[in-house]
Amino acid sequence: MSEHPVNRPDRGGLDLERELAALATAIDWPPTPDVAAAVRVRLAAGAPRPSRRWWFAPPRLSRPLLIALLLLALLAAVATAVALGLPGLRITFTSDPLPTPNVPAATATTSTGSPPASAPAPIPGSDLGLGTPMALAAARARLGVPLLMPAVPGRPGPDGAFVSMVRGSAIVTLTWGTGPDLPPLRAGSDVGLLVTVLRASVGEGLMEKLVRTGTTVERVEVGGHRGFWVSGGEHLVWFRREDGEVVDVPIRLAGDTLALEIDGRVVRLEVAGGREVAIALAETIAER
């Protein structure tokens, strides 16, 4: 039982301690994310096991030699960081600003492709923390390899493009607004289809470690490309980047997901309607 400070009325009759104690039970904290699943995946991806000894026990060296060794280690670390990005077990999907601020932001267009007459409509998914919005051409350039996307009947292309940089690698997310053929991914969402593309491979071992109560992972093959169908609710999706780093793409939607590995890129697709709808769309994925 935690020790609360003793209640005592103060001058002016304000029993602040009691009011604060009462307030504690009424706070509407932000919902706690499922940290355990994410930590488990990171540990499985290679976090070091706990050691019973201090990890670094400096040998008895002369001071000049020790300083020289430390400098060498520092130089090596800097060189590695410059070449690969800071090493780490986890690369986070972030929405940090990109270093090219002059790229024009994407604006929503109507389904016929014509720009809005007055103030542009919000880009579908702009409230999901998908990254920096930008024009599709700029997003393509950021990815560094041809962009893959499905063909949606009646739509000339995505309504939104976002890019997030993760340790120097681009994650491109494309969104299509809702419509008669694209119901919202969840109630209240303005996104009917969400496609994420990054240069990575689908980590089989990692995907299977995501399985939690209520979530199922099914291996699929679409158009000759291997992948997974993940269903059952909100989840984290992890991929292994080209350099071996594990990348998590926590799109915060409670959507079933199809993830395919296509020629060195992972395409992750979320659409309402279930597995068959997702597969039908995925069969149209091509470089566009």
């Binding site: 609360h4 602040l16 994310p33 976090a47 077990l89 986890r90």
Partner: protein
């Protein structure tokens, strides 16, 4: 003396889970994370000032805590030790982001604290406004005051846990809390007199 038993309800103690995690049992560590992730996340949110930063901070903290289990004193309580790591991560993220604003806390409209009988509509409105003012007053305090009040009252951490989170002796927690409460009373008094 290391307690390797259970809590009496059949669930293993934190100490037992730590020992299993040290031997490489990831499931045991996952259970530890589940037990403490809520208070850890809320602590990180309070210290970092944002839910997004808190999520990253608490994940990193749990991974670092796992790596440091070998240095954890098995007879010590796990939660304060963990929360110290969480708070450190959250503080680092707050400094790195340059964030100055506090976490915008709200209270649930339909959650009435305590076992009070349903008040009259007028009383309910007054109570609602009062609590909103109190929360706003807390958010206006400087970070040091906000943290100690947040830890002791909003997170309901013990004095020992608060000392770990704030990285100060228990005695300092008492004196910091006393000064923070004085400043909060002043703030609330100033609002009341307007």
């Amino acid at each position: 003396m290391l307690d390797l038993g259970d809590t009496g309800s059949g669930a293993p103690t934190d100490g037992a889970l730590v020992e299993r995690a040290r031997r490489g049992d990831v499931t045991a560590y996952e259970e530890l994370v589940r037990r403490h992730q809520e208070v850890a996340f809320r602590t990180a949110a309070l210290v970092s000032g944002g839910a997004m930063e808190a999520e990253d901070a608490v994940q990193d903290a749990f991974v670092k805590a796992h790596a440091a289990l070998g240095r954890f004193r098995a007879d010590a309580p796990f939660r304060p030790w963990l929360l110290a790591i969480v708070a450190n991560e959250a503080r680092n993220r707050r400094r790195a982001s340059g964030r100055r604003q506090a976490l915008a806390l709200r209270f649930a409209e339909d959650r009435r604290p305590g076992a009070e009988a349903a008040p009259s509509p007028e009383a309910a409105v007054l109570a609602h406004e009062w609590r909103a003012e109190l929360l706003a007053a807390i958010e206006r305090l400087r970070a040091e005051d906000r943290e100690v009040i947040g830890c002791r009252f909003l997170l309901e951490l013990s004095e020992a846990e608060t000392a770990e989170v704030l990285r100060c002796p228990k005695g300092t927690v008492k004196s910091r809390l006393s000064r923070a409460m004085d400043r909060l009373r002043t703030e609330m008094g100033a609002r009341a007199s307007r």
